[in-house]
Amino acid sequence: MAERNFLDLSLLLAKQGPGGKEQRVSVRLLVGTTKGGFWLTSRDRREWKVTGPFFKGWKVTAGLRLSDGRFLAAVASDIYGPAVYATADGRASPDLDSWEQVAEGPAYPEGGDRRLQQIWTLKENRGTLYGGVQEAGLFASADGGRTWVPVPGLNDHETRGGWMPGAGGLCCHALLFSDDPDRMWCGISAVGVFRTDDGGATWVPRNAGVSIVLEDQEHKGIGTCVHGLAQDPSNPNRLYRQDHSGMYRSTDGGDFWERNEDGLPTAFGFPIVIDAGGSALFAVPQESDEHRVPAGGALRVFRSTDRGDSWHSASAGLPSANAWGTVLRGAMCVDDLEPAGVYMGTTSGTMHASSDLGDSWTNLPVTFPRILHVSAWSQ
């Protein structure tokens, strides 16, 4: 990867900086696949430079750029298990050739029954890092990812005996935060959404209104299967949920969910993302929970610009025939530019990018392994 100075160049994209001052920026995508990670970088969101693979042979399952400038990447192997890696320093242009495995990464206790199989998501909030993992659980780091501790209030939840895996495993894959520092949400498949209002000490299932897909005989309030979560950036209690059983939203922090599927060809899918301005939601419907392919072999994105009241196809430029790869829950994201860029990768290894909030799409000239994760940063 001979582009470590890329971020130092004078670039063409622009975004509003502090005081409304225009800043020159570039966009960097991390594409995590079953066989390694790839960087895609662009100065104009039209032409992309590809570098990689790094962690060749490993699944790259999550990525995060920390507030100190370092990158974290979660990797996993069906043979050798998971790990978290970090770039070496926090300079403006971190050395992306220099990754070091975190020595004390997320880990379940030795001698216990739980097995750490994969890290599905990495997030940072108020200086604390969080990792959602499979087998389902949550870990936190207060030292920039160098050491991690479990969050027992969730990991040892009283309903845990009733937690059942979805097709992707029993995994904690979605984390959302609030302007209230004690409030946080997590999504676990196939269990549901949990919310804490006391800084993670205790968690309560918040799934009222959502159809149950795997009812537990003893523990009620779980057995839903959240696939993806999104949050209105202007109102953290306005939540959007792509669930196994359909598309939902909540205006009260998850106390109650209502369906909002008007205009969707099917209500089944995995990712749901929202742009930084909160003006548009994006989802990728699939034919059904049994088939899990784009309906009719047409890769289509649906967009809502009215907070989920209605959905409309925003698929101009995407393959309209013979496209049978679909988009996994972690494989779609937005950047923070205006208008927002939207990016997604498919299980067939194709990458698709929009630089105009989904009005039009470009099919990038790459064919990666199966794509698990896509994240974007501007700088």
């Binding site: 490993w58 050798y80 298990g81």
Partner: protein, 92 residues
């Protein structure tokens, strides 16, 4: 104390910074494994699971003998012995 040569698979190069061959000492295989992960603690979760056993799909050979065929890890090792870790392969 005997020193044993340990060979690692290519996929673990990121864990060890590119090193594929290490040495560790011990009177038994258990000692050798313990000293190996003390020296390279990042290897531990990739070779052994939370129960302390080899990960399900990791193979380990002591002087060419699959350690799963041995009666535990408490047999002696000798100077110059080899330990090979590799991933289980079944079919193409």
């Amino acid at each position: 104390m005997p020193s044993v040569t340990i060979a690692l698979p290519a996929l673990l190069e990121p864990v060890t910074g590119g090193v594929r061959e290490l040495s560790a000492s011990g009177e038994t295989l258990r000692d050798v494994f313990g000293n190996l992960v003390r020296r390279e603690p990042r290897l531990k979760p990739h070779l052994f699971d939370e129960s302390g056993r080899l990960r399900e799909h990791v193979l380990c050979f002591h002087n060419g003998v699959n350690t799963r065929w041995l009666d535990g890890w408490d047999g002696p090792v000798a100077e110059g012995d080899t330990v090979l870790f590799m991933q289980a392969v079944s079919g193409g």
